[in-house]
């Protein structure tokens, strides 16, 4: 398939970009539909806001190469020309120039080092795959995240997160919630249900192996390879998957005949033997230490711009930048995190609460930004009236009630850190959803400018200082929150 692709991609002279576009489209189409040894073929998956595509990888002298034009063409209009050993192309206002056999390129007038030499085969420019993370940000002008091990490249703020929670019903159900609609390829084999996400920018959960302490569905694993993310749910009974919530939720449960049949205690590798004594029907399982896992929520996003901090600065952009910095700071302190909104996505308040409650973090931190006042305001939930709990059912509106004291402890610890740095800080309750809908400790941080200029909210140094202080405060109460490093 690769060589066929080279033939199709043979380029004409300058000014035939339309013909070239058609050829590239044909190449991508053929690459997508021609059956072959696709399972063995090396590919790179590229995820952008507007499109997702995968490209074949070519090995040249032990180095993995990819066609640069094919990597950029789906994102916009590209023109190229070939003059002897020189190969030039233009994407929007970005000019790039490569020289055959050289490991240096010039993009927007700046020299860029490649991780291998540039190759030109049948007028098709090939660059080392590992150079894409250097080349694409310069050419496209947006942030690019590349995972070379799994060959998955994310352009801009695209990411689909997921949570998995076992519902201990009879039969048990594993409910997986995704931040965007998903359409995986599902395959089953004895003891496993595999979901391959070819087109979704799925990102890894806090830990690659999720354990559920259940005999029928003991665990699930997350794996990325050759551009594809795969979730494997391990079961001791045949499993089936069903979709709901506009394909944002996948529920995995034993197949009906298994669920209806007599309970057969299946052998679970590594499981404790079932208690045989009638006098002691419940096996005592030692408490599993809770892993320190924080959920960071960049408030607003998508159509909801939040406060218009200035003509050019929207609250949603500041909260996203703060969330990423806070993630870095928490992870630097040994705490794993999940950023609820790691792109410019729409998330309702209910969705934020559902994702957080199913993820069971030891703390949830919502980030807001304001143009009025100075310094930082820290909020815990102001619970609304009503909301009676009924047995095991907790009222949605006052789900936070039982953990308000712990949330306040966390807020005070963070406030103490701000005071140490002499940053103005106030701690208050606030009627701010989804704080009241969360079952675990939860705080909100509202960041105001350090001085009179609201644009200072965008200063990297200020954001880093705020993020670092919040992380230090949370780390200080790690024990009280119940998380283990």
């Amino acid at each position: 398939m690769g060589s066929a692709g080279y033939t199709i991609l043979s380029r004409g002279p300058i000014g035939v970009s339309a013909r070239r576009s058609i050829r590239i489209a044909l190449f991508l189409l053929i690459a997508a539909i021609v059956p072959g040894n696709s399972a063995d073929e090396k590919r790179i998956a590229i995820f952008a806001a507007a499109t997702t595509y995968s490209l074949p990888i070519s090995d040249r002298n032990g180095v993995e190469y990819v066609g640069l034009l094919e990597a950029i063409e789906p994102l916009g209009t590209v023109t190229s020309r070939n003059g002897g050993d020189h190969w030039k192309f233009r994407y929007n206002d970005a000019d790039a120039e490569f020289m055959v056999g050289s490991n240096r390129a010039k993009i927007r007038g700046h020299d860029i080092d490649l991780s291998g030499t540039f190759l030109l085969e049948n007028n098709r420019g090939l660059v080392p795959v590992t150079s894409l993370s250097t080349l694409l940000p310069r050419i496209l002008g947006v942030q690019v995240t590349f995972n070379p091990a799994s060959r998955r490249l994310f352009i801009g703020n695209v990411a689909t997160h997921f949570t998995a929670q076992l519902s201990r019903t009879a039969p048990p159900r594993l409910v997986m919630n995704f931040t965007s609609p998903v359409n995986p390829t599902i395959a089953t084999e004895p003891g496993k249900l595999r979901m391959a996400f070819n087109r979704e920018p799925l990102v890894a959960p806090g830990t690659p192996t999720l354990t559920f302490d259940d005999k029928a569905i003991p665990s699930a694993t997350y794996l990325e390879n050759n551009g594809i993310a795969e979730i494997t749910v391990n079961g001791t009974v045949p499993l089936m998957a069903s979709f709901s919530n506009d394909r944002r939720t996948i529920t995995i449960a034993p197949t009906p005949q298994q669920a209806a049949g007599p309970a057969q205690p299946a052998a679970v590798p590594g499981a404790l033997p079932a208690a045989s004594s009638a006098a002691n029907p419940v096996a005592v399982v030692p408490p599993v230490p809770r892993h320190f896992f924080a959920v960071i929520d960049a408030s607003h996003g998508g159509d909801d711009r939040g406060a218009a901090l200035s003509d050019k600065l929207a609250e949603k952009d500041v909260t996203l930048a703060l969330a990423r910095r806070l993630r870095q700071e928490l992870e630097a302190r040994g705490m794993s995190t999940m950023v609820l909104r790691d792109s410019d996505a729409n998330l309702t308040l209910d969705q934020r609460a559902i994702f957080t409650n199913t993820a069971h973090p030891v703390i949830y931190v919502a980030l807001h930004a304001a143009s009025d006042g100075n310094g930082v305001r820290l909020y815990t939930a102001l619970l609304p009236a009503g909301g009676e709990n009924n047995g095991p059912f907790i009222s949605w509106d006052t789900a936070q009630e039982r953990v308000v004291p712990i949330s306040r402890t966390a807020a005070q610890a963070v406030a103490a850190e701000f005071q140490k740095k002499q940053i103005q800080v106030r701690t208050l309750s606030a009627p701010l959803r989804p704080l009241n809908n969360l079952t675990g400790p939860a705080i909100a941080v509202e960041v105001a400018p350090p001085g009179s200029d609201v644009m200072d909210l965008n200063l990297p140094a200020y954001q880093q200082n705020v993020a670092s202080t919040v992380a230090t405060g949370i780390a200080a109460v790690r024990d009280k929150l119940g998380g283990q490093p």
Binding site: G306, L349, D372, Y379, L382, D397, S429, E446
Partner: protein
């Protein structure tokens, strides 16, 4: 033969008709250029007549990020519901003044307050109030708590407060303060004290 004086009279009348038509046409053009009068969206002032009463308004202060109790003497009717509406309109009068410590959007108004037994007050704001409100956790919280605390401090028996906008449920005031739930009067009172003690 038509008499001469009659011809002159008809001619003068025709000239007058033409002149009046020309004048009316110009006046119409001018009227079209003049912008229509802007509706007076200021809240209705409390009734100027009737006995005045001493009340406490809880006025939001952006600079101090707290509510300041402010004594006021305003004429209030005897009907409970009408009193509640007039109280909040007096409060909005402060916010809409030029020297407001917590400015609200022009046209912000309390449409009505409904007191429903047992202990529920429903405040119905107009769309201009919410649509023009500044967005921010603290700004919105100050507005909401100011309305609720002013109401509960002066009208006994209110335990819960619900805020509507144009008679309908709304998720938040301006992106932050929750309007979907019922406010607990006691919890708001504690929050007001918390704001004060944090100074």
């Amino acid at each position: 033969m038509i008499p001469r004086h009659l011809l002159i009279g008809v001619g003068v009348l025709l000239l007058a008709v033409l002149a009046m038509g020309f004048y009316a046409g110009r006046m119409r053009g001018r009227a079209a250029q003049v912008a229509p009068a802007v509706a007076d969206t200021r809240p209705v002032a409390p009734p100027a007549t009737g006995p005045t009463e001493q009340v406490t308004l809880f006025v939001a202060d952006d600079a101090a990020a707290m509510l300041r109790p402010q004594a006021a003497s305003i004429p209030l009717p005897s009907a409970r519901q009408q009193r509640a509406e007039d109280l909040l309109r007096a409060l909005l009068g402060i916010y809409l003044a030029k020297t407001s410590p917590h400015p609200l959007a022009a046209g912000a108004e309390v449409r009505a307050v409904y007191l429903v037994d047992p202990g529920l007050a429903v405040i119905d704001l107009n769309a201009a109030f919410a649509n023009g409100h500044r967005s921010g956790v603290l700004e919105e919280e100050l507005t909401v708590t100011s309305l609720i605390q002013t109401l509960t401090a002066n009208i006994p028996g209110i335990l819960r407060v619900k805020i509507l906008v144009d008679g309908k449920d709304r998720e938040t005031l301006a992106g932050h303060a929750d309007l979907s739930d019922f406010y607990d009067a006691g919890a708001v009172s504690q929050l007001v004290a918390q704001m004060e003690s944090a100074q």
